[in-house]
């Protein structure tokens, strides 16, 4: 799971590299001509969403999301295990809820055919990376929960 989510996160960083390339191209173009990259803000926003959202599942799989263990590190291993299970359940509840209700909102955007302001990118395109990211992150938490139940020392 960690490898798969890492691969997904790395694929997502292509979005960041595209954003860098387009931004530099736009600056270069407008400094030597009257040309610009059309819809730069729309495209860069989409690239940022792709890169950042696809990285969220990796954050859970690799335990990269910020948490404080100052107090729990002194607890007995069994208590720490219970807390990891609770963390996975709460994370799943929040992420699955966000994915579910987000999906409903995305279907509304699809029904209304809403588009971005400058070059008319369908807003659904912005929803897709968000829903993939948080949906997969919810599944990663199911995996973390099952892993913790089966082999508590697997971390």
């Amino acid at each position: 799971m960690k490898r798969a989510t890492l691969l997904l996160a790395l694929v997502g960083t292509i979005g960041f590299l595209v954003a860098v390339a387009l931004t530099v191209t736009d600056i270069a173009l407008r400094s030597v001509s009257t040309l610009t990259v059309p819809g730069l803000t729309d495209i860069v926003t989409l690239c940022t969403m792709v890169g950042s959202m696809l990285a969220i599942p990796y954050g859970f799989a690799a335990d990269q999301h910020v948490s404080i263990d100052v107090f729990t590190s002194r607890m007995p291993p069994s208590a720490q295990r219970v807390l990891r299970l609770v963390a996975a359940v709460l994370s799943f509840a929040f992420l699955a809820g966000a994915a579910w209700f987000g999906f409903e909102q995305m279907m509304s955007a699809l029904a209304y055919g809403t588009r971005s302001q400058s070059i008319g990118i369908p807003l659904v395109w912005y929803w897709i990376p968000l829903l993939i990211g948080i949906g997969l992150a919810a599944l990663v938490n199911v995996w973390l929960f099952v892993r913790e139940l089966r082999s508590p020392n697997a971390r």
């Binding site: 950042s52 990285a55 990796y58 963390a87 992420l95 987000g102 909102q105």
Partner: protein, 392 residues
């Protein structure tokens, strides 16, 4: 239970969840959702969970975050830190406590392209600790200089935490950066002064080295040129209004990649590591921003900030007294919470108070970032101390 009391109960629950090692983003999200349902009924569940993550993350202004993170990730892997340290070693290493001062200077300059305290402390520790140890610097002075110097990464612009403060409070990122410049330089200068005093009082802690000849000093200045050039390009572009902060971040990321390539460091492994760091940091930051937006909705509907503003007014404290109390709370919280989370959890309550008292939000932002710095070197959660401990 009244709405403000629900707000207080929510904040207590949040601190308990964070203390139980629930990821901070999730703790904020869960408290925000449960609190929202208690205050507004089930109808708020679908609205908040369905719309807040999208509204928060689909903003062009947020693009500045991954691009600055990418700039720092490539800069820290391009060998720039070693060059900086060697250059400053040649220029000021012969001063009393010169190597420790060179560490502070290198941290300040590296922080100026890196934007992260942890990355600055980790990178500089790798370079400075072996050299200072070999020359005979006391371990306490070495670690202290690195820990303090590392904190400059979030004060000297471009700083990720300043960007997030500016985005959340709807302030100008450029003005935040400009306002952070002088306090950052001042902090670096004062750290160097403290090292000078310490080295004077305890000369055996900081053995003096010989001054290199003029050729070596000129070579040292030349070595610093690329990193200074990158900093001037990014910050100069923002101040001269040639670029917006997001464009400057894009130019900075591009510049850092080009510098890494020119120095022959842009291997597949370096690129992969830098991209993984960019993804992991950005994913973590965006997840926290999603959690914050849900929590913020709950805090606002609880009317807790308004009640606190009224309560502070009734106390009759002078405005500066209120600021001092807030800063003391930050120092205490900094012992237990990481910098970003502490700022994000408290801002929905503290920011309305500050604006109500008539203080400038930019000024307060720099003040908060400066105080948050203290948390980075305060036990038991001084993250810089852990990073340096691992490297030394």
């Amino acid at each position: 239970m009244s709405a403000p009391l629900v707000g207080v109960a929510g904040l207590v629950a949040l601190l308990i969840l964070i203390g139980l090692r629930i990821p901070i983003a999730i703790a904020m999200g869960i408290v925000g959702i449960v609190g929202g349902v208690v205050l507004n009924g089930w109808v708020s569940l679908g609205f908040v969970l369905g719309s807040q993550p999208y509204t928060t993350t689909s903003s062009y202004a947020l693009s500045v975050i991954p691009l600055f993170v990418m700039m720092g990730a490539f800069a820290s892997r391009a060998g720039l830190s070693a060059s900086l340290y060697q250059s400053l070693h040649s220029l000021i290493g012969h001063w009393r406590g010169g190597l420790a001062s060179a560490t502070i200077g290198a941290c300040a300059l590296f922080g100026a392209v890196c934007g992260s305290s942890l990355a600055t402390a980790a990178t500089m520790a790798r370079v400075a600790v072996p050299e200072m140890t070999e020359i005979g610097y006391d371990r306490r002075l070495t670690s202290g200089a690195l820990a303090a110097g590392g904190t400059l990464g979030i004060l000297i612009p471009p700083s990720i935490i300043m960007v997030i403060y500016a985005l959340l409070t709807e302030q100008s990122i450029g003005q935040m950066f400009l306002a952070g410049m002088i306090p950052g330089i001042l902090a670096a200068g004062l750290y160097m002064l403290a090292i000078y005093v310490m080295a004077t009082l305890k000369p055996d802690w900081a053995p003096r080295t010989t001054r290199p000849d003029k050729i070596n000093r000129l070579a040292a200045i030349r070595q610093m040129t690329p990193i200074l050039g990158l900093f001037l390009l990014v910050m100069g572009g923002i101040y001269a209004r040639i670029f917006s902060p997001t464009e400057a971040a894009g130019v900075g990321a591009f510049g850092a990649i080009v510098l890494a390539a020119l120095r022959g460091q842009l291997t597949w492994q370096v690129t992969r590591d830098a991209l993984i760091e960019t993804a992991a940091t950005t994913g973590m930051l965006f997840m926290i921003l999603i959690g914050t937006s849900v929590l913020q909705f709950f805090i606002e509907t609880s009317t807790l900030p308004t009640v606190i503003v009224g309560w502070i007014g009734d106390l009759g404290l002078p405005p500066i007294g209120v600021v001092v109390v807030i800063l003391l709370i930050y120092v205490i919280l900094g012992c237990f919470l990481d910098s970003l989370s502490m700022m994000l959890i408290t801002l929905p309550i503290v920011f309305p108070i500050i604006t109500h008292l008539g203080y400038d939000p930019i000024w307060f932002g720099v003040l908060v970032v400066s105080v948050v710095e203290i948390g980075l070197i305060t036990p038991p959660l001084g993250m810089n101390l852990y990073v340096i401990g691992c490297r030394s």
